[in-house]
Symmetry: C2
Subunit: 526 residues, 2 copies
């Protein structure tokens, strides 16, 4: 039905067009002019398709993997994930946030025009009739859509959910195509910098509580960047694109960024050098903002002055929140997304000792490690006062500020910690196993098990007619169940259960009537 | 740029092909031979596209909605959702389950061939280069893929996540295209019917604890259905398709189903009548299984005898689990999915008083209410011993049994209950608002707020320099915050805070040193 193709060079594919029909023609058509890694992916796809068609043997062999850039969470990883979520949710609730949820996909047009150069990374759904849909790229745009749709002008909410980006993931560094974001946002017309300061306080609290080692929160303001570009002579229509070059300063040297600004973005050497003078200023605090307010050129830009004044005010609130030891004002922080309008920030882990966890799937992801990545960025956010207005039919603005905790990297670090630690992670909460040393007691075991379930005790029972006592005890040791309730002929006659402590191996007879109470007492202590 | 089309009949669309270019040609091409609702959707899409292209005015007007068949959850709905999840997760944990998570999309081929006639409802992702992907249709197939991929032969796990079906949703009845499933499954080679009985016990516990009114769990077995079809003279290759007709007995009369079996599935009247004799038998218990084992025709089918014997055994365990009051053996229960191999079950709410909540979006979903739906089905599941083997390169089998709680309908009922109840649902957990009656105390308010946050107290503060005391108290009343910590010049001098009980309006001075303890005491009581 299909011939196997031996390929020596990309252009071999070109000849395919017209020789294949249906989906194959479609594939072949898209192959011309591709890069080697892209070709590898296409080959894999053709071979997958061949397998589906049945090949010569008519057998269906599955490619057993999760999609590129995604992962399963096994029970141990889930236990870690739940712990991280609990810490984060507790913090969000401590700050009085409500929560909401939105669909995993939005109308395609809801996402269009919000992400600048990153829009190409959006996952589109296939047009199967009906609406044109795309997977959410972040939680911020759906939040803005929700506010506009429900005419909400005041809310403090958190949202923890997965988002989707067709990026080339470096999974060893905790970067994926499907990943969780934990967002906290404050919408409403308030006095300047108070909600902004609370967002930074939240990042500070979460990163401290998770004990990930030392961290630093960089702060800047879009208006300062814009003002700076303006006084350096960047034409206004190039602000955003130059911004996205400056954004790369955490992974590239100034020389490389300058090169990009001159060669790719088409600015003169002089303009680039002037930008360099600002973005290479060492990060500081309130004092730096004060100093820049005196800068003869910057002080001529209304936008820059507004931004600098707000940064100064922000630092005064951060002082009251006792967070200034970890926050710096850094003129080189840019952030790529289009929708920011004021303060922006990003938190990074600075401790050198944090090595990435190797991901077993990495071998599959041959087509795309993009090289050095922003090592250690774990949270980011800023003010976006115009986004909700983009959705409102009358353009009514709802000022917003928020922060997003990117926790995949945090999971990676926690998983690595758990692996090297001696502490065993339990993946169940079972308090007691109902067991027997004798045969033919399945019915009695099931009956006791149901009694305990009905009393709210967490119980397991092995699904065998006549399991060996040893295998029942082994199950407890392996899964960390602390107690065994052992039934035998004698115990049934006496109306008791032998309650065994798995760790100490002590056994005592407990009357059936007292069993629930006794289990509760023992498992609340431990 | 585009002419508005006045359409009188579907075939008008045919003429469009070749007259449009680019995406419009694609749209037009797919329009021939469509039904009226489909055409309506296509028209909506064209108009959307027109809006995107800018139309004459060049203005971008957003369609402010969530995709068809999806919904947002506002904070009140989230509070209800969390409560339902907590009940369900507690039950799963009480039964010793671990949890895991899988990506929201899978390789398309992972899903292919698992869902029978329902496969057309799978959401495909657009081919943007790379792998062919589709959104998960349920949590069972990803679970089987996970087991095969990780060579796991024994696990008891729960998984709560959203699944996706391009169905025509009846949202008033809690049916959506994006909806949650709460799955509990037991994988492993065990003695018959013990894990199966635990799954039914779990459904029993959850539906009882959620207090949704009376319910009934119907049980049957695929092998009994197959044996019955066999002895009635249905050719084997038609077992599945007849099964999916019988599956409609909960929403259609036997006459309609018979009609489908004869006219659409091509069986004779006699064969259909014979099937009718069985599926119209009144539901029973262990006694019915016993009676059917004596049935001269059924007893000739090995499959039927195996199924009936297991159903009898299942009922004996359900007796020990004290659940037989809500479980019936019902020969008319079929269930559509292809992968079931043994026991199947479905839980329905039987209380008449449970009316559906009207969904505000229903007006948009004009194109598709399919009419009467299975009213009140809230859980279903069964045994699928072959599914994992389909993924294993060597076909190794891992027997599985599980249950899926479909909770959108449960949410609807709970939301309705909440609306009619006088009890106010809180959407935050804030314990105290830091407030002031005087001006110029923002800094002091922020400082106290941070002190309390640092002590783990849930605190809010209004983001205004000088808010009115009245608006601060109103915020507490509206959101249910029980306490206000009021600061004034005098209090600051005295080193105290005026702690006000919002409900009783009582105020006492509490020394700053004792404040945390006092707030904890008061909010743990209430």
């Amino acid at each position: 039905m299909m011939t196997v193709l031996r390929l020596t060079a990309p252009r071999v594919y070109d000849g395919l067009i017209g020789r294949c029909a249906g989906p194959l023609m479609h594939l072949a058509r898209s192959l011309s002019g591709m890069t080697i890694p892209q070709i590898d992916e296409e080959v894999a796809k053709l071979l997958q398709l061949k397998l589906q068609l049945g090949g010569d043997e008519g057998k269906h062999v599955f490619v057993l993997k999760t999609p590129k850039g995604t992962r399963d969470y096994n029970p141990k990883q889930m236990a870690i994930r739940d712990k991280v979520f609990k810490t984060i949710i507790n913090c969000f609730k401590r700050h009085g946030a409500e929560t909401l949820d939105t669909p995993v996909f939005e109308l395609k047009e809801t996402l269009t025009g919000k992400y600048g150069e990153d829009s190409k990374l959006i996952y589109d759904l296939k047009d199967q009739g009906g609406e044109l849909l795309a997977l959410r790229y972040d939680l911020t745009v759906p939040f803005a859509r929700f506010l506009a749709m429900n005419k909400i002008t005041n809310i403090k909410r958190y949202h923890i959910a997965k988002v989707y980006r067709r990026d080339n993931p470096a999974m060893t560094r905790g970067r994926y195509r499907e990943f969780y974001q934990c967002d906290f946002d404050i919408a409403g017309q308030y006095d300047p910098m108070i909600p902004d300061a609370e967002c930074l306080k939240i990042v500070y609290e979460i990163l401290s509580e998770l004990e990930l080692g030392d961290f630093l929160i960089k702060v800047n303001d879009r208006r300062i960047l814009d003002g700076m570009f303006d006084v350096c002579g960047v034409p206004q229509e190039k602000f955003r694109t130059v911004c996205s070059s400056v954004d790369k300063l955490d992974k590239m040297s100034w020389e490389e960024v300058k090169n990009e600004i001159v060669k790719e973005k088409g600015l003169s050497e002089e303009v680039a050098d002037q930008i360099g003078e600002y973005v290479n200023i060492k990060a500081g605090g309130s004092d730096l903002a004060e100093k820049l307010l005196q800068d003869p050129r910057l002080s001529k830009s209304k936008a820059a002055v507004a931004g600098l004044t707000d940064v100064k005010l922000l630092f005064s609130y951060l002082e009251l929140f006792q967070t200034t030891d970890k926050v710096v004002f850094d003129l080189s922080l840019a952030r790529g997304l289009d929708y920011y309008t004021g303060v922006i920030y990003e938190a990074i882990l600075t401790q050198a000792g944090v090595a990435p966890v190797p991901a077993p799937q990495e071998a599959n992801g041959s087509a795309g490690d993009e090289g050095p990545v922003s090592v250690g960025s774990v949270a980011g956010g800023g003010r976006y006062d115009g986004l909700v207005g983009m959705f409102d039919p009358k353009g009514r603005k709802v000022p917003c500020v928020g922060v997003s905790i990117g926790i995949e990297r945090i999971f990676s670090i926690m998983e690595q910690k758990a692996e090297t630690s001696a502490e065993k992670i339990r993946t169940t909460e079972t308090q007691v196993l109902v067991a027997s040393a004798q045969k033919n007691l399945l019915e009695d075991r099931l009956k006791l098990t149901a009694e305990l379930w009905n009393a709210g005790i967490k119980v397991e029972v092995l699904y065998k007619r006549n399991p060996k006592l040893l295998s029942q005890l082994q199950h407890c040791e392996e899964t960390g169940i602390p107690l065994v309730a052992i039934l035998g002929e004698q115990e049934l006659r006496d109306g008791v259960v032998k309650l065994r402590n798995v760790a100490s191996r002590e056994e005592v007879d407990v009357s059936r009537a007292d069993l629930v109470e006794e289990i509760r007492k023992r498992t609340s202590e431990s």
